[in-house]
Amino acid sequence: MSETIFWAILFLPLTAFALAGISALNQNLQRQIPEWDPSYPRSWKPIADQFCGPRLASTPLIIALAVAFLLAVINLIDSIGLRGLPLNIGTHELFTAGELAVNVGVRIDGLTSVMLVVVTGVSLLVQVYSTGYMDGDHGYRRYFAFMALFTTSMLGLVLADNLLMLFAFWELVGLTSYLLIGFWFHRPAAAAAAKKAFLVTRLGDLGMLAAMILIYSKTGTLDIAAINALADSGAEAGMFAFNGLLIGQTAMTLFGLGLIAGAVGKSAQFPLHIWLPDAMEGPTPVSALVHSATMVAAGVYLLARFFPVIHASSTASDLIAWIGAGTALGAAILALVQVDIKRVLAYSTISQLAYMMFAIGIGGYAAAVFHLMTHAFFKAMLFLGSGSVNHSTNTFDMRRMGGLRTLMPITFLTFAVGTLSLAGIFPLSGFWSKDEILIEAWDNNKGVFVLGLLAAGLTAAYMVRAVYMTFFGEYKGGEPVAPGEHGNEDPSHPHESPRSMTTPLLILMVISVVAGFLTIGGEFQTWVYGALPDPHDGKFHWSWGIFLGSTALALAAGFAAFTFIHHGDRIRSWGIGGIWPIPEAQKFATELFYLDSLAENFLARRVFYRWIAQGSAWFDERVVDGIVNRAWREGLTVSSAARFVQNGWVQAGTLSIGLGGMIIWVAVVLF
């Protein structure tokens, strides 16, 4: 594969971003034409309106992503042919300043190839879906501009061959996530959610930045391959040494912990998970693409990319294994009590990402990457399905739904397949990838295995509950369109969504059914490891016990959930939408374990705002501004002196030249 096609994959959506930007700008200009702006070419206006309509925002993006997807698939086939070994593509120097060389380059191996296909594929389907979902929205063009920028950044993130470039795109996806969560910024909840997401992920990014500075100051390189080779060389007497680079065990551990901080923030793991449920305020296709399939998986990607680093330190790998296992179970519990369908899916996403996290922690690299891939497809489908439901009921509250099974058959079919896949029912894709992770856990860490297995049971329970509340029983009428918004004018008669929305759902359904078979025979495992060492030396094995056990558990939990909710009235009234037998526990869970209120009320308001922020504000007003204001006044005084020196006399000007020359000479000779 030549390098050009990878840059093409990156620049195709970027071009679409430029075009969508022009389209959005043109829309803006139509609203407010500057009174006299000579640089706005008036004569172009009719032409601009002709060619810069809303179609300019969406169509080029879809074409660009289709081409990029094809290229990614071609690359995937090539990469399989190479058995996942990294392609040797040189890096380019952007500029150097003294010692520091800033490079850009692409790194292609099995992991990148998978990610490219996932990102371009899901993004393509989500954009097609969005043309239907966002149709008629005032911000249609802005939406596609942001989506194009997001896809570009995400592709740049997975293509990067050095940590600096990766970090730049990492921050860019953070920015676009902020813009997309707050897409309907006139809603206070959306604006607050965007801010929260931005600030909380920033905490993790701080750790990542520190890790980057640390590794650069110790080794002088940010090249991913070099750092991995160094970590892989193994410690001798507490020092890693490879190819002239040298780093101590402690520094390597700290580097790994910094990366974990970044991953925990981005992938919404405990304790930084609190932003993801709120992020559901964004448009639903955004939740499908950004907050379930791609961006939140970037944290998992980061740790997979630096797999040798994580496993060069038992502290780091144990930490991420336990964070992951705990989050998997905790988030599954929280998903069980949500009444908002998107929030159920959001906690489910946190829980599933946690599976990938602990898989990496216990050494199941291939299983984590595989689950990342299958999860991207079926979770995107579930989110798009919830969007389809919302499109005709105007609400995400499952208490206002019910009975949509017959009214929206295609949505129901795809949502049901997604549910079965997520619950891990044979032979759907989620079954294969989740069981692989559980088998890895059984082999390496029994404690993590127990937590993971419990979470798997709960997964089946909360999804059955969500499907039941949405698609079975009586239809409860949805909600009328909020003033100033657009939506279904007649929610009491829900209808199936347009074809632009159902087609992507069906395509994703087919992928979700078949994607799991890739793993049979273990080919995927060897391929995705590529040049990476397998810590278990290929000891991965199939386990019938775990297969049967987890399937039985999922079926039993699903059935239990069904019984509880179906006969809810007869057994006991457990509060709204709950299936939890103990009221105190129910309250504890609906209050999200009090983690959100701890973070917002205590940490953010009391500690941070009261002490740190107000202290900084005082310092800024009194000390920093004080100095600046003082300097400014003194500067004005000096500047006034200009009137005496620079008085416009020609004599002064000529004198200064001759005299200046003489003074220089005298000064040089004397000193």
Binding site: P34, W36, F95, L636, S639, G653, S656, M662
Partner: protein, 490 residues
């Protein structure tokens, strides 16, 4: 002989077309035709320089060693011709105001550019002086081109102080000739290397006079007195041209003389101190005087004094440590970045002045951000670049110069530069504040006017793109600058 004429090609193109324009001025009045011919000449000059570069003439000398074609000279020839092209392109309004003297104006720009180009390639004191006079005399006329009160005052002051500067320069050259018996830079260098011992003080006197003479062209304090009046009085495109082209050529010849002829270790230690002190003085003087200015042209005049000071940091650094080549290539990089940035700022100022009755008062910019968002944005971008914030051209230039200062043991100078960057923000941000924060006194006061010519718009787009491209991908220009200075420091 013919071969030597070939080496003079880039300048000759300009001189020949300039002469033709003077005659054509008598019977051709079409502005487009005249401007087209001028632009074609400048483009031809650039192409000629490029051909000299690619066709293997690099390193050739002509006219008894008085003229050299090296990458250093070619870098400046292209930069200067480019700046002149921008100045011509934005001159539409000036030319409309003076229908009878169009050819004269354009020819003078060509002559001045030819002189500056020649300056960059001269290796002989006499040649240098002739080139300098060719460019200076053209500029005196151009500054006073509008024969109004301000134009006449600025032009006359420029002429009088310029004459003194030339005299001082000539003194310096005469002393150098008397001491070494040669006007050729390499011969002077070899004389100093073999017999310079014991004659330092006389050599230093000559050097001090040379610094005064060229410092005048570069508008380095304390030789900057002419700049505010000349900038204010000159037609604005000429002010833009003076602020970038004169400065570039002056620094080119300073680098060439001080490191080809007077670069001996015997003296370099002294240059370091002189350049460093002049740098600090220029930065402080230029920045402090700029704060109180309300006329944006006058403000940019003082700002250009401060920028010259920043450029001097590079000269000081490379005097202190000759292996620190980044000092010289940093100057070239900074000059190119500063040229596009300042041209962008001046282009917008011209456009705004054309539309609000020729006012250059910063206070009259109030509320412009609403009325002309694109224009205001470009001006704000250019001013932000002048401060030296990323992602712009001047940002990288400053980083390079400050870094070389630190590397060559002049950390205090880098600190002075950083402090001055802060001070400069105080006045560079004033127009930005006026445009985007202040509200206009009368909302509908501005008359609706015809949109400006395409040439001005195109120039604005090109130079703004230049600022951004250099800021985002500085590598290309850095390579060019490094190749250029390698011709002198090899």
């Amino acid at each position: 002989m013919l071969y030597e004429v070939n080496l003079l090609g880039p300048e000759l193109v300009l001189l020949v077309v300039g002469g033709f324009l003077l005659i054509a001025d008598l019977f051709i009045k079409d502005r487009r035709l005249l401007m087209g011919a001028t632009l074609a000449a400048l483009l031809g000059s650039i192409i000629y320089s490029a051909i000299l570069l690619t066709e293997g003439h690099v390193g050739s000398q002509g006219f008894g060693g008085a003229l050299v074609v090296d990458k250093f000279a070619i870098f400046f020839q292209i930069l200067l011709a480019g700046a002149a092209m921008a100045a011509v392109l934005v001159s539409t309004e000036t030319l409309q105001r003076t229908p009878s003297r169009r050819g004269e104006y354009l020819a003078l720009i060509l002559f001045s550019t030819a002189g500056l180009q020649l300056l960059a390639g001269s290796r002989d004191l006499i040649m240098i002086f002739i080139a300098l006079e060719l460019t200076s005399i053209s500029q005196y006329i151009l500054v006073g081109f509008h024969k109004d009160r301000w134009g006449s005052e600025g032009g006359l002051k420029y002429l009088l102080t310029g004459a003194v500067a030339s005299a001082v320069l000539l003194y310096g050259m005469a002393i150098l000739l008397g001491l070494t018996g040669s006007t050729n830079l390499s011969e002077i260098a070899s004389y100093i290397a073999w017999q310079g011992e014991g004659k330092e003080e006389a050599l230093m006197l000559a050097a001090a006079f040379l610094i005064a003479g060229f410092g005048f062209k570069a508008a380095v304090a304390p030789f900057q007195m002419w700049a505010p009046d000349a900038y204010t009085g000159a037609p604005t495109p000429i002010a833009a041209y003076l602020s970038v082209a004169s400065k570039a050529a002056a620094f080119a010849i300073l680098i060439r003389i001080f490191f080809e002829a007077l670069g001996d270790d015997l003296l370099a230690e002294h240059w370091k101190t002189i350049f460093a002190v002049l740098a600090a003085l220029s930065m402080f003087l230029g920045n402090f005087f700029a704060i109180r200015q309300n006329n944006i042209k006058r403000m940019l005049a003082y700002s250009s004094v401060a920028q010259a000071g920043t450029l001097m940091i590079g000269l000081a650094a490379i005097s202190a440590d000759r292996s620190e080549l980044l000092g010289a290539s940093g100057i070239l990089f900074y000059l190119a970045g500063y040229t596009v940035t300042n041209l962008a700022a001046f282009t917008v100022i011209i456009l705004i002045a054309n539309h609000n009755g020729g006012s250059y008062d910063i206070r009259s910019y109030a509320g412009l951000g609403k009325k002309a968002p694109w224009l205001s944005f470009v001006l704000a971008f250019a001013l932000i670049s002048l401060i030296g914030l990323p992602p712009t051209a001047v940002f990288f230039g400053k980083i390079y110069l400050f870094e070389t200062a630190v590397e060559s043991g002049l950390a205090w100078l880098a600190v002075v530069g950083a402090v001055n960057t802060l001070i400069s923000a105080a006045y560079y941000l004033r127009p930005v504040k006026a445009m985007f924060i202040d509200t206009a006194e009368d909302e509908d006061g501005q008359p609706d006017v015809a949109r400006p010519s395409n040439s001005v718009l195109a120039t604005m787009g090109l130079v703004t793109a230049g600022v951004l491209v250099i800021g985002l991908h500085p590598g290309l220009l850095i390579n060019a600058a490094e190749a250029a200075v390698a011709a002198i420091f090899s």
